[in-house]
């Protein structure tokens, strides 16, 4: 119990430390503008990875559509922001946008989860994979505009919206949403990451979280002690998709142009890589992996053509050194040594 709490504190402390270091580096100007531009995406990837870890690590289901849920959150929130750009002040508008992103993504998660999570087996992986691709294609045919007479909708092109002179096109099919105000910044990203970690860790260490991990460990035994399997799996999945929606909000409010190209299969897999590399069921690891692997391609930029080659080799190396049994044993030894030293000191 105590060990768990201190472990959680390390996770929070790590995020805080990362924030402070980055802020100091920004203020002293010792950080490249490229890396500075990566700070918000870093937070976004970390949030997505932690939220996916809730499904993959704690509920034991495989989801391959995290980017799809980010897409839903990104579009819903950006649409809201564009719609109310002139009527609402910036602060509350962004707050509501975050909530809308989370809620809309959660609704999609709920609708997908209800039929799929009743089944036994890896059906969630198949369905979320399909969802990610479908939602991407679906969103790219939407044309939505607004004028005095209200909201216009078309699946053909922007011209067929029949807007009057003052009308604005909000979503322009494959071109996406342009001109979203850049409300997201590094501080907000870190706050949202903090909140995500807080929600996931506290959920896992609560009554519902115990039920979720119990179902993961042994479904039949969990049923035999009266746990409602579908309910708790759905709970983990919906919370995860809501948090993925929040990651999407960060993305859409960090770039002035939002289109669906980013939310493809590769992004979903990349997020899964963060989770697997950081350790399944290890929140701290997910964050570290997300930050390192997002920053790495930029740091390797000087190697030019060999960049992705080195990146792949580093990935394999990290996987080996992180999860080889002897590497784990070595870490345990170091930990024990550290502990006994501390005891002697006390």
């Amino acid at each position: 119990m105590k060990k768990k709490i201190s472990n959680n504190m390390i996770t929070y402390g790590m995020i805080l430390l990362f924030y402070v270091i980055m802020q100091v580096m920004i203020s002293t100007g010792s950080i490249s503008s490229l890396l500075q531009g990566l700070l918000v995406p870093l937070c976004m990837y970390a949030i997505a990875a932690v939220s996916l870890n809730l499904v993959v690590g704690f509920s034991g289901e495989l989801s391959l559509g995290q980017a799809g849920f980010m897409c839903v959150g990104a579009y819903a929130s950006a649409f809201f922001t564009k719609l109310t750009e002139e009527t609402l002040p910036e602060g509350p508008r962004f707050l509501i946008a975050i909530l809308i992103g989370a809620v809309v993504a959660a609704i999609f998660g709920f609708l997908i989860g209800i039929p799929v999570l009743r089944l036994r087996g890896d059906y969630l992986a198949i369905v979320t994979l399909a969802f990610g691709e479908i939602i991407k294609n679906l969103v790219s045919v939407f044309h939505v505009g607004v004028d005095k007479s209200g909201i216009h909708f078309s699946v053909k092109d922007a011209a067929s919206l029949n807007l009057d002179e003052e009308g604005r096109v909000l979503i322009d099919g494959p071109l996406g949403i342009t001109g979203t105000p850049k409300n997201a910044n590094f501080t907000i990203g870190i706050i949202l990451l903090f909140l995500t970690v807080f929600i996931v860790l506290n959920l896992v260490n609560s009554r519902s979280g115990r039920a979720i991990t119990a179902i993961r460990d042994n479904r039949i035994a969990a049923e035999s002690i009266g746990l409602n399997v579908t309910k708790y799996k759905l709970m983990a999945f919906v919370i995860s998709t809501a948090l993925a929606g929040v990651a999407g909000v960060l993305y859409s409010h960090n770039l002035s142009t939002l289109n669906v190209k980013f939310f493809n299969y590769n992004t979903s897999i990349l997020i899964l890589v963060f989770v697997v590399l950081g350790g399944i069921g290890n929140v701290k690891g997910s964050i570290i992996a997300a930050i390192l692997l997002t920053a790495l391609p930029e740091l390797l930029r000087e190697l030019q053509d060999y960049r992705m080659l080195i990146y792949a080799i580093l990935l394999i190396g990290m996987m080996l050194f992180n999860w080889a049994p002897s590497a784990i044993a070595f870490r345990e030894r170091v930990k024990d040594k550290f502990k006994s030293n501390k005891k002697e000191a006390a």
Binding site: F198, R207, A211, A214, A221, G226
Partner: protein, 252 residues
């Protein structure tokens, strides 16, 4: 009132009639044994009683209430808890959390309160810890409560399974070979624990066992299954001396 009444329970898997016309009637507070040679259908009966399989025919009544064909979760809520022949613990959770998982629907607070650590979280978690520790003390597991369930020795894992089943507050406890893999000393200790549990928690116990010392030591009545059908039933001492039972176990 009978604790458990089963009438004409049948199930077939393909062409195999695993259980045929199974009847059972257990008095409240009894310690009842279900024995039979390997493959007789004992565990299948347990799976039928707990809703893992749906019976083709027959009625199961728990304290007069019909629970036939309900789902496992609903049957547990109605008051039937069980252990498994091949141990099924939540192996990556601590011993304490294994028991607390079984308390999920007894001590409640909302998920929201759990995430945002509202006062009801701390209050209920404290009650849960006390209750879980109390149950673990019965099985002498309270000292190991913080270690992972998979790190427990075999005999203690069996005990933890019983503790977890008891935490759901059952009226009827089904034990599937509780003494399997235990040495004679552990078996005697287990016998005393089962008796204590029956008296202390005021429940009815139905157990499957191959260890005849345990069966004759604590079971008041027995039903013998052979080839999916009831061979005989009655008082333990009488049943164990019946020629038909001895033949079923040892052959002609």
């Amino acid at each position: 009132m009978k604790a458990l009444e089963v009438k004409n329970l049948c199930i077939s898997f393909g062409g195999l009639r695993a259980v045929q016309g199974f009847d059972l009637s257990i008095e409240k507070g009894a310690l009842y044994g279900l024995i039979g040679p390997n493959g007789a259908g004992k565990t299948t009966v347990f799976n039928l009683l707990t809703g893992v399989y749906k019976p083709d025919e027959g009625i199961v009544k728990l304290e007069g209430k019909d629970i036939t064909g309900l789902k496992t979760t609903a049957i547990n809520r109605a008051g039937v808890a069980r252990t498994f022949q091949n141990i099924r613990l939540f192996k990556d959770m601590s011993v304490l959390d294994n028991v607390k998982a079984a308390l999920t629907d007894i001590y409640k607070y909302s998920t929201f309160a759990g995430i945002f650590r509202l006062p009801s979280y701390f209050k209920t978690e404290k009650l849960m810890n006390e209750k879980a520790t109390e149950i673990l003390e019965v099985f002498d597991l309270d000292k190991e409560k913080n270690i992972l369930a998979s790190n427990l020795p075999y005999g203690k894992q069996r005990k933890l399974e019983i503790a977890r089943a008891l935490a759901t507050n059952p009226k009827l406890l089904l034990l599937d070979e509780p003494a399997a893999g235990m040495n004679p000393n552990e078996t005697i200790e287990l016998m005393n624990t089962i008796r204590f549990v029956r008296d202390h928690f005021d429940i009815t116990v139905l157990l499957i066992e191959h260890d005849m010392k345990l069966v004759s030591g604590i079971c008041e009545e027995l039903t013998v299954l052979n080839f999916g059908e009831v061979l005989t039933k009655g008082k333990t001492s009488k049943v164990l001396n019946e020629p038909a039972v001895i033949t079923a176990y040892l052959g002609e």
